[in-house]
């Protein structure tokens, strides 16, 4: 089993501290979502893990070894950093062949990953004719080339069409099911919510959150209940007697803050009030994330922040 271990990692560019004593572990068998505002240090962390940038302090290892010490790194770690990196004059086949050659990967893998990423028919076309989505698929093909135990993807759904987004979501889940270590950075919350099992959230280069997605949502959700009833008046007075107020929305639904469905259900049952619908309203990942990072966004517009506080 191969984990990514980031230990007390610090990276400074001149006077700017991009990553600040960051420690976390990415474990195999699940998809870890890597979140944070622009400039939080996600890409820097990924580059240091890949040995591309030298850390100012601390260390990053994969399976206990620094990336540069892996004998044939692409067979252990596959990464997608920037879909534009493949030279436009090359064909997908020559781009992947040059990568396979240096890492002793059989050339048959080139064909396999091209087919797997839906580029089987365009393997001999120039990359410069590709759309962003196709380049993204090629970047994924390069990441999967060495059948690696660890997969690191920076914004993988960039430029993909809806089918592509569903495809990559299923791909990441499958990779995790196969026991691989999957780290995926994204700025799309609903996207991340649809594939991540675990979250690592950065803010200003520091670790804000490292926990299972469900725990994160629970920790950031204030209890709130949504319901519909056939007897609004009776419900209103029943709630008032318990010191609760419901707000009725235009569509007839009620929203009650500070309680769980369990408590409201008990009240309604006791008063024999006819309910048509009753559910806990959970925070979405987006709400939970914005709530968390409101104070840690270096470039947050003041209006966004004001909205957070209301």
């Amino acid at each position: 089993m191969t984990s990514i271990d980031v230990h007390e990692l610090t990276k400074e560019y001149g006077a700017t501290r991009a990553v600040d004593r960051l420690s976390f572990r990415v474990r195999p068998g699940r998809v870890t979502g890597f979140l944070g505002p622009n400039g939080a240090g996600k890409s820097t962390t990924m580059r240091v893990v890949l040995g591309l940038d030298r850390p100012t302090g601390g260390s990053a290892t994969i399976g206990g070894r620094p990336y540069a010490r892996q004998t044939e790194p692409l067979r252990t770690v596959g990464a997608l950093l920037d879909a534009q990196a493949a030279h436009g004059s090359r064909t997908p086949r020559s781009h992947l062949s040059s990568l396979a050659a240096s890492n002793g990967i059989p050339m048959s893998r080139v064909r396999t990953v091209l087919e797997e990423t839906g580029l089987g028919d365009v393997g001999a076309r120039r990359i410069k004719s590709f759309s962003l989505g196709m380049r993204q698929r090629l970047g994924l093909a390069a990441a999967l080339l060495g059948d690696p135990q660890v997969v690191m993807l920076d914004e993988p759904s960039n430029g993909l069409d809806p089918e592509g987004i569903i495809w990559i979501r299923e791909l990441m889940k499958r990779l995790a099911r196969e026991g691989r270590t999957v780290l995926v950075s994204s700025h799309l919350m609903n996207e991340t919510a649809s594939f991540a099992d675990h979250l690592v959230v950065l803010g200003r280069g520091r670790l804000l959150v490292d926990m299972p997605m469900k725990d994160f949502l629970d920790s950031r959700s204030r209890p709130r209940v949504r319901l519909r009833t056939a007897e609004p008046r009776r419900l209103h007075s029943a709630l008032a007697s318990k010191g609760l107020t419901g707000i009725q929305a235009e569509d007839g639904r009620w929203v009650i803050d500070g309680v769980t469905a369990e408590a409201i259900g008990a009240i309604a049952a006791h008063e024999r009030i006819h309910l048509l619908e009753l559910a806990d309203e959970r925070a979405t990942l987006e709400q939970a994330y914005l709530d968390l990072t409101a104070d840690d966004t270096p470039f947050a517009a003041s209006t966004t922040r004001d909205r957070q506080e209301t």
Partner: protein, 245 residues
Amino acid sequence: MTLTAVLHSEWIKIRSIRSIYGSLIAVLATTLIITVLVLGTVGQEQAEQAGADAVLNAFFALSFGQIAAVVFGATAVSSEFLNGALRVSLAAVPRRSLFYAAKMTAIGGAVLVVGLVTTFTTFLVGQLFLGEHAIGLGHPGVLRAALGGGIHLALMALLAAGLATLLRSAIAVLSLLVPLLLIVPFVLVDVATAVLRYLPDRAGQAVLHQNPVDGPGPWSGLAVTALWAAAALLAGWWAVRNRDA
């Protein structure tokens, strides 16, 4: 990960970008075409002039071919500095000295092979136009010029490749080297001839003369060019080892 594997990878990279591979072929094409044009028209007259250097007359066109070699060396490296391509390359080959050594070996080796093919082909084809003035491979200085000319082209490509690694741009390298090769010699010709003879291309081209006058001798001139190339290669190595990608 072996040097052979990384060399193979670097060769695929060279082969798969048409403009880069094209400039490698242009080393041969340019030299050959200019030789044929010049020797085919004024070759015999030149040979009859007093003090004519028959060897230099056979190989003079290499100074045009070397521009293609410089372009090849610079662009083969600069393609790595486009849109973060270097990150993909270094993720595949994280041992940076190995990566750099393989890339420079591929560039230098390719130009050496093409350069030797160029010098021999150019010589043999060029002599066809010289009638009674034609010389053979056994003529004094010819073999030396053919071998040395090939090495000179490889050294010029490595000089450009090392600089391109340091400057991360082919444009920067070409705007530095092309004037040095094409313009400076004409501007400085009267002022500082002694200095000129130690510029990278001038020094190496001593090997193309039958009897080099003044300045460094044929092999020592090539050694001077080798020193220039080595300095550029070391600077590039330092940059690859120490910079963040």
